[in-house]
């Protein structure tokens, strides 16, 4: 079954055509890579899927057409988005609060939120960072936390924008293990050839506003 699909998606930003008719679909549990040169429209594509960019064409989440801000509000609780720059994404005072944000917003009870946060801290082996202010984290730690704070949302799909940039060997390995393990569908925008070879998922190439399978 298709969770997310896109038909003839077109986006214009400041008079420039950034996406020129993109077609794409993602099945439940499917994991894919999107690669391609800088400025080809990869980030814009993810942002459009989240409803942050005005577009023409069709975006469907589980068969439902998304048009208005309200439609996308529904999607955003269930499709997670990991920013290219974790500094832009993290805004809570500490790691723990950052992870608790999404479940609290969902209206989950405090005790349960605590459990979710505990589990995620353990899963990503970042328990020692629990009370650390997010701005004091290292670049790699920020990246892991920016993934973890989306995971606590328990999303059906996660869109990730260059998630392995700046990770050391150990953290890279941890993230790859998470990618293999998770039940969520994944769309990973990346240039990391080692990552693509290791996981061997389907690859798409975004070039000049067009998406084709490699």
């Amino acid at each position: 079954m298709e969770v997310l699909s896109v038909e003839d998606l077109r986006v214009k930003l400041e008079g420039r055509e950034v996406l020129k008719g993109v077609n794409f679909s993602l099945k439940k549990g499917e994991k894919v890579f999107i690669t391609g040169p800088n400025g080809a429209g990869k980030t814009t594509f993810l942002e459009t899927l989240m409803g942050f960019v005005p577009f023409e064409g069709e975006i469907l989440f589980k068969g439902k057409h998304l048009k208005s801000e309200d439609d996308f509000a529904l999607l955003r609780g269930r499709v997670g988005y990991v920013f290219q720059n974790p500094d832009d994404q993290l805004f809570a005072p500490t790691v723990e609060e950052e992870l608790a944000f999404a479940p609290l917003v969902k209206g989950i009870k405090r005790e349960q939120v605590k459990e979710i946060v505990e589990r995620t801290l353990r899963e990503f082996e970042i328990k020692h960072l629990r009370n650390k202010p997010t701005y004091k984290l290292s670049g790699g730690e920020k990246r892991i936390v920016s993934v973890a704070c989306v995971v606590t949302m328990d999303p059906e799909v996660i869109l990730l924008d260059e998630p392995t940039t700046g990770l050391d060997r150990n953290k890279w390995e941890k993230l790859v293990e998470f990618f293999e393990r998770t039940g969520s569908s994944l769309v990973v925008v990346t240039h990391d050839t080692k990552l693509m070879e290791r996981l061997g998922w389907k690859r798409y190439v975004m070039e000049d506003g067009k998406l084709c399978s490699a």
């Binding site: 942050f52 509000a73 955003r76 609780g77 993290l90 805004f91 809570a92 005072p93 917003v105 989306v150």
Partner: protein, 240 residues
């Protein structure tokens, strides 16, 4: 939240529009202060109406921006609407009408004399008009980083939204806004430290060298003469 498209600059609404934008900002600031204070001190409708033709004449130089001007005149100021309406229905209707016209004329002067120059030109002119340097430095840094700070907020909003945040009347919402602010304060605090280091490492001593200097031209002098004579006659006939 006012969501502006990315890359948009924060700038005065009529920057570069029409004949008045070509005048020396020093001249415009001084004339604005004279005119605005005069109208602000007006005690009856006649004293306000005598300046309306001048305001409309100024407006005619920027008629192409009529929509922008009308929006700023009518909808920008909730407080004015509030005062005028409460006066019309619960106080003195005359006061309401007087305030409406006073405000409209002053705002027209402000739009056409001040906001036809860019922010930088206005700050530069204030420097020549002897506004304390430290205050201008703060103003300069404020303006220099205003867009960055706003972008920072938009990113945090985007991040929260992408994790399912929908603003409503709840403690969770207010807490989220507090986190946005905390985050902005924190980032700005560090940013200001870096700005300071960058400044002193370039030998900054607390004032900005000005490369471009204003020059009074014929147009400035003619415009000043015309405005001052208009003002003089109006004050003589209607105020004294």
């Amino acid at each position: 939240m006012d969501t502006a498209t990315e890359g948009e600059k924060v700038e005065t609404p009529l920057n570069g529009e029409g004949l008045l934008s070509r005048l020396d900002p020093r001249v415009k600031i001084v004339l604005f202060l004279v005119l605005a204070w005069t109208v602000a001190l007006a005690g009856n409708l006649l004293q306000v109406f005598v300046f309306l033709p001048l305001a409309l004449l100024f407006y005619s130089t920027a008629y192409r921006k009529t929509t922008t001007i009308l929006k700023l005149l009518l909808f920008a100021d909730f407080f004015l609407l509030f005062v005028v309406l409460t006066q019309l229905f619960l106080g003195s209707p005359y006061e309401g009408i007087l305030i409406f016209f006073k405000s409209t004329v002053i705002v027209l002067f402000s739009l056409l004399l001040l906001t036809t120059s860019s922010v930088f030109d206005l700050l530069h002119a204030l420097h020549h008009l002897k506004v304390p340097n430290k205050l201008l430095q703060i103003t300069f840094f404020f303006y220099r980083y205003l867009f960055t700070v706003r972008e920072q907020l938009q990113l945090a909003e985007k991040s929260a939204k992408s994790r399912g945040f929908i603003p409503k009347t709840s403690i969770q919402t207010y807490k989220t806004y507090a986190y946005f602010m905390g985050n902005l304060l924190l980032k700005s605090y560090f940013k200001s430290e870096n700005v300071y280091k960058a400044l002193i490492s370039r030998g900054f001593k607390g004032y900005f060298p000005v490369f471009r200097h204003f020059e009074l031209r014929k147009l400035d002098i003619l415009f000043s003469l015309f405005t001052i004579i208009y003002w003089g006659v109006a004050v003589w006939k209607f105020y004294l």
